[in-house]
């Protein structure tokens, strides 16, 4: 049985899944780095943070021992500031823009400092935000991921009650179920959701799915406005023969399993192929390796120049001992008695650049075969096309279409995060939630909201 669980000892699992970005051990250590910060004006790091955290300010506040102020500066801009400090690909965001890079010096460890301040705030359970008196308005939010919770937090601070409908049993979205286990633990994710909702005025109804338990129309009737932060769904299908064989798994599903169960219970193959070269592919590959797979190979149809993951992420996979085959597209999965035992790939070459400037891979006609017992599909995620279309939302291949960043075609219905952008980072979803909340607040004060379909006198149609 090549795909088995319990390959390693408890100790090995613990080491393999321990924090890859350990925190500062001491105040002194944090201060050394914080004091290196130049306190740039109109700082490039802040401009490169999608939520616009005032980085120089929060770092300065660490140096003056104003940790509470520091945490407030961070969380005011990004309520997932604690989680983001562990999961953000900072090398292409704040730290990538740090001016020290231009001096060929190590950038300020912004994320680590951010973690230093926010960790303390969460541990001490500092309540850093106030709520304005209730406006009597209620907004329904679908999805308790980064986008939904960020939207809810802003609304609640402004005296608007937020009711979140979440199909899973835990909040946090892909932060809880998607991000690699060596970046955040389930306990941390649960604590972060609790910390965010400790503000009050945010109710999460778990195990309630849009499309299964209620419709968008139901929400429109019951609430003053609706925000959709439902993220994206399963991994893209490969549409190749043999895809249904046992041992072919969806990366999202594989990681979801890994994030919801003890590591020892997660089966993994001896020789694993991972299709794709994005963040999800890297996470699937490294975690398969860390679960004890003997050989993990990433298969990507373009070259390193086109890969969607960052250099740092690729390095992480390489350091974990994963192999990469560039310019290889999966063509067929060969199985024996319904179980995978090989992956056939076409050798690709790069054609001319398309309109976006990206060179498109072309099949060279040659093939090669990779002996594997497990194939993890991570070639992008599919939006919830059916759900979105059924609820009359204008969309582009399932990605909800919005104007002014957050408004859907339905009056009073807003959307943001992965379900709109097709899948980016946590920090982008948080910003989208913030922007949607601002738009909702404006909307609630406007005339438009009077035309909203809510009929408060009608008995509710569903028990939400």
């Amino acid at each position: 049985m090549p795909i088995i669980n319990n390959r390693l000892s408890d100790e090995e699992y613990r080491t393999n899944f321990s924090d890859i970005h350990p925190p500062f051990e001491t105040r002194d250590a944090a201060l050394v780095e914080a004091n290196r910060c130049l306190f740039c004006y109109d700082a490039p790091c802040t401009k490169s943070c999608p939520t616009g955290i005032d980085v120089p300010k929060f770092i300065k506040q660490i140096t003056t021992d104003n940790i509470k102020g520091s945490a407030h500066t961070i969380l005011e801009a990004n309520i997932f500031g604690a989680g983001c400090s562990r999961v953000c690909p900072v090398e292409k965001l704040c730290e990538g823009a740090c001016v020290y890079n231009l001096m060929e010096e190590e950038p300020i460890p912004i994320a680590r400092l951010q973690r230093y301040a926010t960790e303390k705030a969460m541990k001490e359970k500092w309540q850093l935000f106030d709520r304005l008196p209730s406006t009597g308005k209620r907004v329904a939010i679908v999805g308790a991921g980064p986008a939904g919770l960020s939207c809810a937090h802003v609304l609640s601070r402004q005296g608007v009650e937020a009711v979140i409908y979440e199909k899973e049993l835990k909040g946090g979205g892909l932060m809880t179920y998607g991000v690699a286990a060596y970046k955040v633990t389930p306990e941390f994710c649960a604590d972060e959701v609790d910390y965010i909702t400790s503000l009050g005025g945010i109710e999460i109804k778990y195990n309630k799915a849009l499309g299964r338990d209620f419709t968008l129309f139901d929400l429109q009737q019951k609430y003053d406005a609706v925000f959709l932060g439902i993220g994206v769904g399963e991994a893209r299908q490969l549409h190749i023969p043999g895809e249904q064989s046992e041992g072919v798994v969806d990366a999202i599903e594989f990681i979801h399993q890994l994030r919801s169960n003890p590591y020892a219970q997660i089966p993994v193959g001896d020789k694993v192929a991972v299709i794709g070269m994005g963040m999800t592919a890297i996470d699937a590959a490294t975690q398969a390796k860390r679960l004890g797979a003997k050989e993990v190979t990433l298969v990507y149809r373009r070259t390193k120049a086109e890969m969607p993951c960052t250099e740092e992420e690729l390095d992480l996979a390489m350091l974990d001992g994963c192999n990469v085959i560039w310019l290889a597209a999966p063509k067929e999965i060969i199985g024996e008695k319904g179980k995978v035992n090989a992956l056939v790939c076409s050798v690709m070459t790069l054609g001319p650049a398309d309109a976006s400037g990206r060179r498109f891979p072309v099949d060279s006609g040659q093939t090669f075969m990779l002996e594997v017992d497990m194939v993890i599909k991570a070639a992008g995620q599919m939006p919830f096309t059916e759900l979105v279309t059924n609820n009359l939302l204008e969309n582009n291949g399932g990605k909800i279409e919005v104007t002014e960043k957050t408004k859907t075609n339905l009056n009073g219905v807003f959307a943001g995060g992965d379900c709109v952008n097709g899948g980016k980072e946590v920090v982008d979803a948080v910003q989208a939630g913030k922007e949607a909340a601002q738009a909702i607040l404006k909307y609630l004060q406007s005339d438009e909201s009077h035309f909203f379909q809510k009929e408060s006198t009608q008995p509710t149609i569903f028990e939400g």
Partner: protein, 422 residues
């Protein structure tokens, strides 16, 4: 290789670096270690009536993560028995005859006490005496230390007593806790002091504990004003030294410069302003005696580069460069220039000039990097941006004279030239 040895009133030392009278020079074990490490000489911790110290006695000022930028103490003179000190001084001189041994003194204020102490010290074979007229705490409450240095007539009287007795060179150490060090310096020189040294520590409160509300250092719920020293006081010490080097009476005697010296560069600056030797305390209290190595090597290399064969080739060289404000050239105008290849786009020059100078830097927005350029016609050449820029030589000041001729303020007024109109 330059010759960095010093001859201070006949007191010879292989280099101009002495340890100031303080804890690093208060007993034989560490003084031997210092001389082994290479220090040119020591000024032994002040001797006088034996005292008792309080336990908690030091505090410091840290700045942006840099520890002990400024240092503060409430320690008194030597708290060891006089005979022990005298015996050890004698032993050290025997072991290191080529190094300078100066002994710092602070007697009770009578002629007899001073004479008695001088005799005892001279019997050890010491090469010179330093009169401590500067200790700003504790001893002052007993009519000694800074109270002597702060009153020219008392200082004059004590120096006269000392000169009646002393047969070896006498250095008077000045207190900076006065509006000018010159009057006491003059009094000492007029009374016969062979040399001066400065500065002693500056009265200070280094900080207050925001939990206990008591200043540092904390002594059972109370504190007192302390004496401040270390890198933070160097600019003040340099200025005071310069005034001694400018004054026609005080400049006649050699000076030993003290205050915030940590490196050969600091030392060279003191010497350029007229010091023949320099003394170090805080830097050694922070790093130990080993800093002497780079001090000697650095000074030597610099002297070679500048073509100075001995220290006497540059002592005092900078003094003539100090002038009166009204003699400065108003036509000398400079403007800042930003080297775009070196610029790291931190925006620090921009916000400094915008908020605190002449709004002379232009910001062209970019993501993530803005571009900053100087508006030359607005730039007054104040240097602020250059001082703040974290990259060496990124901002340089370019000379753009307002006129060819030298023009000072007196002449400017005489000619009725126009003042700024905005």
């Amino acid at each position: 290789m330059a010759n960095i040895s010093a001859n201070f009133l006949g007191i010879r030392s292989p280099n101009p670096f002495w340890l100031a009278s303080a804890p690093p020079t208060d007993k034989k074990v560490n003084v031997l270690r210092a001389l082994e490490a290479g220090w040119g000489g020591v000024v032994w911790k002040t001797l006088g009536p034996q005292i008792k110290n309080v336990s908690s006695r030091y505090s410091a000022v840290n700045y942006n993560g840099s520890r002990v930028m400024g240092f503060n103490n409430i320690e008194l003179i030597s708290d060891r028995p006089l005979e022990h000190n005298l015996r050890e001084i004698e032993e050290v001189i025997k072991e290191f005859p080529d190094r300078a041994m100066i002994v710092s003194l602070m007697a009770e204020n009578t002629r007899e006490k001073w004479h008695e102490l001088i005799q005892q010290v001279e019997d050890t074979g010491a090469h010179g005496l330093e009169l401590n007229f500067g200790c700003p705490h504790g001893m002052t409450e007993r009519g000694m230390g800074a109270v002597v240095g702060q009153d020219t007539e008392i200082a004059r009287m004590v120096v006269e007593w000392v000169m009646e007795k002393a047969t070896i060179p006498v250095i008077t150490k000045l207190t900076p806790n006065v509006h000018s060090v010159v009057p006491t310096g003059r009094a000492a020189v007029e009374a016969g002091s062979n040399a001066l040294s400065l500065i002693n520590t500056i009265q200070s409160i280094t900080g207050i504990d925001l939990d206990t509300f008591v200043p540092n250092p904390y002594v059972a719920g109370k504190s007192v004003f302390g004496g401040y020293c270390g890198p933070a006081v160097k600019p003040i010490a340099l200025k005071m030294l310069a005034t001694i080097s400018q004054d026609e009476i005080t400049r006649k005697v050699p000076v030993s410069g003290i205050g915030g010296i940590s490196t050969w560069k600091d030392a060279a600056e003191f010497m350029l302003l007229g010091a023949t030797t320099v003394q170090v305390c805080t830097a050694v209290m922070k790093h130990g005696f080993r800093i002497i190595e780079d001090m000697c090597e650095g000074l030597n290399n610099w002297m070679d580069e500048k073509g100075f064969a001995t220290i006497y080739d540059f002592i005092g060289k900078t003094v003539p460069a100090l002038t009166h404000w009204e003699d400065l050239d108003i036509n000398y105008h400079i403007v800042a220039h930003i080297n775009q290849d070196k610029c790291i786009h931190c925006g620090l020059c921009y916000i400094a000039c915008e908020d605190a100078s002449h709004q002379a830097i232009n910001l062209a927005w970019g993501k993530p990097y803005n571009t900053y350029t100087i508006k030359e016609e607005e730039c007054i050449g104040c240097n602020l941006c250059k001082l703040i820029c974290p990259v060496d030589n990124c901002i340089t000041m370019v000379e753009k004279r307002k006129g060819d001729e030298y023009l000072n303020w007196k002449e400017f007024q005489k000619r009725g030239l126009p003042l700024n109109d905005h």
